[in-house]
């Protein structure tokens, strides 16, 4: 064992060695910078695909009665364009910057969980390829990126098209939530000495808000997709109106995710602009705490305004009024940011680089999208605009004028840091102006087209409606956008070969990433830099507002050397297993089983790969807690949304069944009381197990760990018995709404219990092999937290399903 540990340490001491090269080094990389580059390149490729889809859409609409593509193909094109741009282009572009920049900006050597980071990336990439593979088998998704039911139910969309979409988006959601948990733990727990929360760069703050939005907003859409999957695959009734279901449930679940998703897409760009403008105005960001608080408020309000997407659905005046007021309120923190950026520029010594151009472009163009957004907050106005091209214009001003311009500002700003070379500024200016003209020519006329009645998602139109000229102009503008993107690609390719070499601090930057070389070494910093205040690097160079420089703190070299995480191919294997499982759902049960086996093997190896690695023992960070414990609590917060959505659905549908059996006719309360008692007592055994591991009492630890797992198995046995009895009494998934909601809710809870049992047995086996020592207590505690959470979820289910009449 000692030899093995020494070998691991030797490997991790290789931080100062030159970075490994070759394809295998990229496949097995867990370096946040490389993963950031992988995200960036993949996002660019998907962006090109989504862009080509957009250009075909525009060609089809350039003239009346055009026949470039059929109606069916058009449906697939706008569905995949939206899905691709949201999930596979803009989000991963932001992830590229999260990955590359956050550890550098907070003075960390990597993220909290480097292998989980790699797993997130591979799941994203393979999930994106899975979605696009639908084109190869002739079944591209065609129900819109919003996938409204009933259109997406089996009887109206019988092919594999929607199946590809719902499975692909679920896979991508897994990737996003994993990454979100990882970055929250990284930002909260791995900051350099002196980097308090309010000293963090605004980009890091906005990234933190976005990660919370991701981990909390994805579970509702995941549950919505699970319901849709069960309706399509197993004949349940979640969206079946004839059986008492409600199609509005889908709209609510989709937009509870969909509206925060807008902020997931745009807040990273706001963060980038908040870094770029001060750098090129040579002034601190005006009112930076207010910009931070505004970002937090936007994130918070973002969860309370979803139903403004549903004014046309007929929710009634009270709901309309409430969501209208909420939507208007959210304009306030957004407007605050705009004014703070303008105030930052006021009186600044401005250097109009291309990065600055894009940042300033965002301020102008996003404002246009923001203002049309406020118009949609008014239900009567919204009723006129909904499902017209006015809305298309609005959200493209938000997502191109906001997100894309911000991301391009980031690309020009951080390119020298990432590649060590400059992009060509002259070519960059040509690209910028071409994009500004092309973008406005494409989308500004669409406001007018919408106002005069052109609906969204129509594949063609007849002449004589006054739509021809502006549609043609819109298409010409789209070609301009395409050309602009092409120029960016040429610029990037030229820079990599012939670009001027960039120094460490090419823009006279303000934050920590400019303190290290361009590109940074594998270990980021030779010594973790101390932080003296906001804009710490600027203070080091020029002092504070009175010119007083901080007294340099002595460097704090790592006492045991620098340990960088070892490469691993298990993230790729595990990700492959997930996508094989998804593919199996479309083909054959055997493929599902194969995928599940690969996930199990990959997950097992992934979990135990570094079990005895001493470099992984101490993971206590800024908050005084272990990274793993913090991450688990964040994940449990996400799980609150997961189970909250399912329980809300159960209660919303309670009593809506058209046929029996009904709950009071079938639920066995005495039996369930016993299984509830069993699960509660398992929690007691779990804390005793942790107590024993912390004391180093192996015999007791083994007893309580296996005891907890045994109690978990008893609970699962009760559940299996109950399910079997219900089926014999005529209650199945397909029987009625109660059967659908009951089996899915309790089944998913049972799945969580089964996973918990597997984790407990794994710990028990480690203990039997003498590999569960005192220093492994955090692992037991993390598994314990999961187990107790499963317990508290059952406390709620027991009450709302079994006891409440």
């Amino acid at each position: 064992m000692a030899t093995h540990e020494a070998a691991l340490l030797r490997h991790e001491h290789a931080a100062h060695a030159p970075a490994a090269t070759g394809v295998w080094s990229w496949i097995t990389t867990v370096d946040h910078k490389r993963i950031g580059i992988l995200y960036g390149v993949s996002a660019l490729a998907f962006f090109a695909i989504g862009g080509i889809e957009a250009l075909i859409i525009r060609l089809q609409l350039a003239r009346p009665n055009a026949t470039v593509v059929s109606a069916e193909t058009f449906n697939a094109l706008f569905t995949m364009h939206g899905t691709t741009m949201v999930f596979l282009a803009i989000m991963p572009f932001s992830s590229a910057f999260f990955n590359y920049m956050i550890p550098l900006m907070i003075g960390a050597r990597d993220v909290a969980f480097p292998r989980l980071n790699a797993l997130s990336y591979w799941i994203f990439l393979l999930g994106g390829l899975f979605l696009n593979a639908s084109f190869l088998v002739g079944a591209p998704p065609n129900g819109g990126w919003f996938g409204y039911t009933s259109l997406t139910l089996r009887q109206y969309s019988p092919g594999l098209n929607i199946d590809f979409w719902l499975l692909g988006v679920q896979v991508l959601g897994v990737s996003s939530v994993m990454a979100g948990v990882n970055f929250i733990a990284t930002i909260l727990n791995m900051r350099a000495p002196g980097l308090t929360l309010m000293r963090m760069p605004v980009f890091v703050w906005m990234s933190l808000v976005v990660q919370f939005l991701i981990v909390l907003a994805f579970p509702p859409i995941t549950i919505g997709l699970v319901f849709l999957m069960f309706d399509r695959f197993f004949g349940t009734h979640f969206y079946d109106v004839a059986a008492g279901g409600n199609v509005l449930l889908w709209q609510h679940l989709f937009w509870i995710f969909g509206h925060p998703e807008v902020y997931i897409l745009v807040l990273p760009a706001f963060g980038i602009v908040s870094e770029v403008l001060p750098t090129f105005a040579r002034k601190p960001l005006f009112g930076s705490p207010v910009v931070i608080y505004s970002g937090i408020l936007i994130g918070f309000f973002g969860f309370g305004v979803w139903a403004h997407h549903m004014f046309a659905a007929g929710m009634g005046p009270v709901a309309d009024a409430a969501f209208s007021i909420g939507t208007m309120l959210i304009a306030i923190p957004t407007g605050v940011k705009i004014f703070n950026w303008l105030a930052t520029l006021w009186g600044g010594s401005i250097r109009p680089t291309v990065a600055f151009h894009y940042a300033a472009g965002l301020v102008a163009l996003f404002t246009v999208g923001g203002l049309s957004g406020i118009m949609h907050a008014s239900p009567p106005v919204d009723l006129q605009q909904t499902d017209t091209y006015f809305v298309v214009a609005h959200f493209h001003y938000v997502l191109i004028g906001g997100s894309l311009f911000g991301l391009l500002a980031g690309a020009y700003y951080w390119w020298p840091k990432i590649t060590g070379r400059f992009l060509d500024e002259r070519l960059g200016r040509v690209q910028f102006w071409l994009l500004v003209v092309g973008f406005n020519l494409t989308f500004f006329p669409q406001h007018y087209l919408g106002a005069i009645g052109m609906p969204r998602r129509i594949y063609t139109y007849g002449p004589g409606r006054g739509w021809e000229f502006w549609n043609l102009m819109s298409t010409v503008g789209a070609m301009g956008i395409g050309l602009s993107v092409l120029i960016f690609l040429v610029n990037a390719a030229r820079s990599l070969r012939h670009g001027a070499v960039a120094p460490a601090d090419p823009w006279d930057g303000r934050t920590l990433e400019w303190r290290t070389s361009s590109p940074p070494p594998v270990h980021n910093f030779d010594a973790i830099p101390p932080v003296y205040g906001r804009d710490t690097f600027w203070r080091e160079k020029y002092g504070d507002s009175r010119g007083r420089k901080p007294t340099p703190l002595p460097p704090r070299p790592d006492p045991h050397g620098i340990h960088m995480p070892a490469p691993s191919f298990w993230p790729l294997v595990t990700a492959l297993g997930i996508v094989i499982t998804a593919a199996g759902a479309l083909t054959h049960l055997a493929v599902v089983v194969l995928g599940a086996v690969v996930v199990l093997v990959g997950g097992w190896a992934f979990a135990l790969e570094h079990h005895r690695n001493p470099a992984h023992v101490d993971q206590v960070g800024n908050l005084g807690v272990d990274h793993r414990k913090l991450a688990m609590w964040v994940f449990l917060g996400s799980e609150c949304f997961f189970f909250g959505t399912m329980i809300a659905t159960y209660l919303a549908y309670k009593g809506h069944d058209k046929v029996g059996p009904h709950p009071h006719e079938i639920l066995n309360i005495p039996l369930t009381t016993i299984s509830t008692f069993d699960l509660l007592m398992s929690s007691l055994l779990m804390v005793l197990a942790l107590h024993a591991v912390q004391r180093g009492d192996r015999r007791q630890a083994r007893l309580w760990l296996f005891g907890t797992a045994f109690f978990g198995l008893i609970f699962l046995g009760f559940q299996a018995w109950e399910f079997t009895a219900f089926v014999h009494e005529g209650l199945t998934l397909q029987q009625n709404l109660f059967g659908s909601t009951f089996f899915v809710l309790t089944g998913f809870h049972g799945g969580h219990v089964a996973l918990g049992v597997a984790l407990l047995v794994t710990l028990g086996i480690l203990d039997l092999r003498g590999q569960l020592a005192v220093q492994d207590a955090p692992k037991v505690e993390v598994v314990g937290l999961y187990w107790h959470f499963v317990d508290v979820v059952w406390i709620v289910i027991f009450t709302v399903v079994y006891l409440i009449p």
Partner: protein, 115 residues
């Protein structure tokens, strides 16, 4: 990965013991388990008492909340852990509960009232 070096086994043991000492004792855990058992028995009991029918739903919700809080505070140690840990769990829990209530009203109650 570690950015803090490697503690010695002795230090690890000490740290674990300190962490353990800041948590509850075994006696406390057993008391909590007994309370959970008693409240569960009460929950089941009240649904059979006709006199309590008008208030049985709020009563059940209060008892379930009490059990939930007990497990989270003691078994999950939130009572003893730094506040940020509570924030990353309780914040989402509250928002999720509010959203669930709104969804229940908008999907379940309102359409029924409008019919």
């Amino acid at each position: 990965m570690s950015t803090h070096g490697h503690p010695t086994p002795h230090a690890q043991g000490q740290a674990a013991t300190e962490a353990h000492d800041s948590h509850a004792s075994v006696a406390t855990y057993v008391r909590v388990a007994l309370i959970l058992t008693a409240v569960t028995a009460l929950e089941v009991g009240v649904i059979y008492i006709r006199l309590l029918t008008p208030i049985v739903v709020p009563l059940l919700l209060v008892m379930a909340t009490a059990k939930f809080v007990l497990v989270v505070m003691f078994f999950m140690h939130l009572r003893y852990d730094p506040r940020p840990l509570a924030a990353v769990f309780v914040g989402p829990l509250i928002v999720a509960t509010l959203l669930a209530l709104v969804v229940i009203i908008l999907v379940g109650t309102l359409p029924a009232l409008q019919r």
